[in-house]
C-alpha cells in the first residue's frame, strides 16, 4: 500500500515538474556547473553543436508542404532552410501534432515552430517569438450560395461556426459571442462547412486564399467578412537567443529582397511585413 502511495506521488511530482518546468529551468541552468555551459545557456550554440535546426511544422500550404519529390517547400520552409544555412547547420523538418507544439519545443524534440503561426497572446506567452513577418486575418467562410446574406459582422449571429481549437479564429468567435464548435484543425473546420454540419467557419485568410473558391478544393465555399488583422511569427523556446538571430536574418533578407522573392514564389508577397 505504501509503495503504491509513493509511486502515485512520484507520478504527480513528475507532472507538476512538467507544469513548472519553465520556471525551474532558469534556476537549474544558472546553478549547474556543467562543462558544456555554453550550449545550455545558448540555443544558437546548442543548435550549432548538434548541426541541425529541427523545425516543427504541419502540412500547411503555401507555408510548409511537400513537393512531388517529398521535399518540404513553401514560404516558411524555404525561409527556414535559408536561416539554417546562415547558421551553418542543416534544416530538419519534422511534422508534429499541432496540439503538442509547446511540449515538443520545451522537450527539445524540435527547436522552433515555423508554420504560419498566428501571434496570439497564448502563443507569445508560452514561446519566445520572432518579429512578425506576414500579415493574416481571420475571415468567415460560408457556402457561396449564401454569401450575400452574411457580408457584415451583425449578420453572423444566427450561424453555427466551426473553428480550430485554440486558434485565433476561436478567440474571435468567442469574443463576438457566436455559437461554435471547436474542431482539430482549420481544414476540419472547412470540411464541417462543406459537409453542412456547421453553417460557417473562421480560418486564416492566407489559407482561405489557397483552399477556398474557384480552382481550389472547395469550389462551393467562399469568404466574406474579415474579423481582425493579425500577424505570423516563428516560435522558439523561452529565453532562446535564436529569436534575435532570426530577427537579424529577417532584416537582412528583407533588405536584400530575398524574402520578397521567396514570397512571390508562393503568391504571398502582398502579406509580407517590412522588417
Amino acid at each position: 500500500m505504501k509503495k503504491i502511495l509513493v509511486l502515485m506521488l512520484t507520478i504527480l511530482l513528475a507532472f507538476s515538474l512538467v507544469g513548472c518546468g519553465d520556471a525551474k529551468e532558469t534556476e537549474k541552468t544558472s546553478g549547474s556547473a556543467s562543462s558544456d555551459k555554453s550550449s545550455k545557456d545558448s540555443d544558437v550554440a546548442y543548435v550549432k553543436e548538434k548541426g541541425t535546426l529541427v523545425i516543427g511544422i504541419t502540412d500547411f500550404a503555401p507555408m510548409d508542404y511537400k513537393d512531388d519529390n517529398g521535399e518540404w517547400i513553401g514560404f516558411d520552409a524555404d525561409m527556414a532552410k535559408a536561416f539554417a544555412k546562415s547558421l551553418g547547420v542543416k534544416a530538419e523538418f519534422v511534422e508534429i501534432d499541432w496540439d503538442n507544439k509547446i511540449m515538443e519545443l520545451d522537450g527539445k524534440t524540435i527547436d522552433c515552430v515555423w508554420n504560419g503561426m498566428t501571434l496570439t497572446d497564448e502563443v507569445t506567452s508560452s514561446m519566445a517569438c520572432s518579429n512578425a513577418y506576414c500579415n493574416n486575418a481571420q475571415i468567415v467562410i460560408v457556402p457561396s450560395d449564401k454569401a450575400d446574406k452574411y457580408q457584415d459582422k451583425d449578420s453572423l449571429s444566427d450561424l453555427s461556426f466551426a473553428v480550430e481549437a485554440g486558434s485565433a479564429g476561436e478567440e474571435q468567435v468567442s469574443t463576438l459571442g457566436l455559437k461554435y464548435t471547436a474542431v482539430k484543425a482549420q481544414a476540419d473546420a472547412l470540411m464541417e462547412v462543406a459537409a453542412g454540419t456547421s453553417d460557417a467557419a473562421v480560418i486564416d485568410s492566407l489559407m482561405a486564399a489557397a483552399m477556398v473558391g474557384e480552382g481550389t478544393s472547395y469550389t462551393d465555399l467562399t469568404y466574406t467578412v474579415g474579423l481582425n488583422n493579425e500577424e505570423y511569427g516563428v516560435g522558439f523556446r523561452k529565453g532562446s537567443d535564436l529569436v534575435s538571430a532570426l530577427n537579424d536574418f529577417f532584416a537582412a533578407s528583407y533588405a536584400d529582397e530575398s524574402m520578397q522573392k521567396c514570397a512571390e514564389t508562393y503568391g504571398v508577397q502582398a502579406a509580407v511585413i517590412k522588417q
Binding site: 529541427v54 501534432d97 527539445k108 484543425a185 481544414a187
Partner: protein, 228 residues
C-alpha cells in the same frame, strides 16, 4: 469520381508509406513483446515475493492507463522533465519511442495471457515430468510450452488484431502511420484537401491486413487441434 481517379496514385503512394510505418511498428512490437511478456509472466509468478509484487505493480500501472498517455509520457518526459531529450526529434526517434511504449504495453497484456496459459496447464503434467526424471527446463520446453501455446492462441489472436489498429495511436507523438497519411488529405496535402475518401482506403488496408492475420492465426489454431 474523375478527380478521385486522378488523385488516387498520389494518395496510394502516401498511404503505402504510412502503412509501411504501421507494419514496422506492428512487427517490432510483436518481436519485442513476445519474449518480454514471457519474462514478465515468470516475474509475476515468481516465488520471490518482492519480484512478483514489483512486476504485478508494473502490469497494473501499464494495463490500467491508456496507451496514449504512455506514448506521451515516454516521448516527452525525458526532454521536458529530465532535460535530456533522449529520443531526438526526428522520425527515427519518434519511431523508437513509439516502439518502446508499444512493446512495454503489449508485453504486459501478453504476460497475463501467458500466465493464464501456463497456470491453465494441469499441475499433473509437471509432476509426471518430474517423476520421469526431467529437469524443470525440459518440462517447460517439452511439455508445458506447447500446451500453453494451444491455450493462448485464441486470446493472443485478439490482442494481435487489436495491435494492428492500436498502432494508429502513435500519431499522437507524430509518428506518421497510415491514418496520419490519410488524414493529411483531409487537412490539405499535395494539393488535395477536404478529402475524406483516403480514410476509407486506410480502412481497407487495415481490413486486408487483419484478414490475412485472421487466416494465419486460424490456421495455427487448427494445426494445434491435433491434441486436446
Amino acid at each position: 469520381m474523375e478527380q478521385i481517379l486522378e488523385q488516387l496514385p498520389i494518395v496510394l503512394k502516401a498511404l503505402n508509406v504510412g502503412f509501411l510505418q504501421t507494419l514496422k511498428l506492428f512487427f517490432v512490437t510483436l518481436i519485442g513483446a513476445f519474449p518480454l511478456g514471457l519474462l514478465i509472466a515468470f516475474g509475476s509468478m515468481s516465488h520471490f515475493k518482492p519480484l512478483s509484487y514489483f512486476t504485478k505493480m508494473i502490469v497494473w500501472i501499464i494495463r490500467g492507463t491508456p496507451l496514449m498517455i504512455q506514448l506521451l509520457i515516454i516521448y516527452y518526459f525525458p526532454g521536458l522533465v529530465l532535460h535530456n531529450p533522449i529520443w531526438g526529434g526526428g522520425e527515427t526517434g519518434r519511431f523508437v519511442a513509439a516502439s518502446v511504449s508499444f512493446i512495454l504495453n503489449y508485453a504486459c497484456y501478453f504476460s497475463e495471457i501467458y500466465r493464464g496459459g501456463i497456470q491453465g496447464v494441469p499441475v499433473g503434467q509437471e509432476e509426471a515430468g518430474l517423476v520421469l526424471g526431467m529437469t524443470k527446463g525440459q518440462i517447460f520446453v517439452k511439455i508445458t510450452l506447447l500446451q500453453m501455446i494451444k491455450r493462448i492462441v485464441p486470446p493472443m489472436s485478439n490482442e494481435i488484431i487489436t495491435l494492428v489498429k492500436d498502432t494508429s495511436l502513435a500519431r499522437i507523438i507524430a509518428l506518421q502511420e497510415i491514418i496520419w497519411a490519410g488524414q493529411a488529405f483531409m487537412k490539405g496535402s499535395q494539393g488535395i484537401s477536404g478529402a475524406i475518401w483516403p480514410l476509407f482506403f486506410t480502412a481497407i488496408y487495415y481490413l486486408i491486413c487483419n484478414g490475412i492475420l485472421t487466416i494465419l492465426l486460424g490456421r495455427l489454431e487448427k494445426k494445434l487441434d491435433y491434441f486436446k
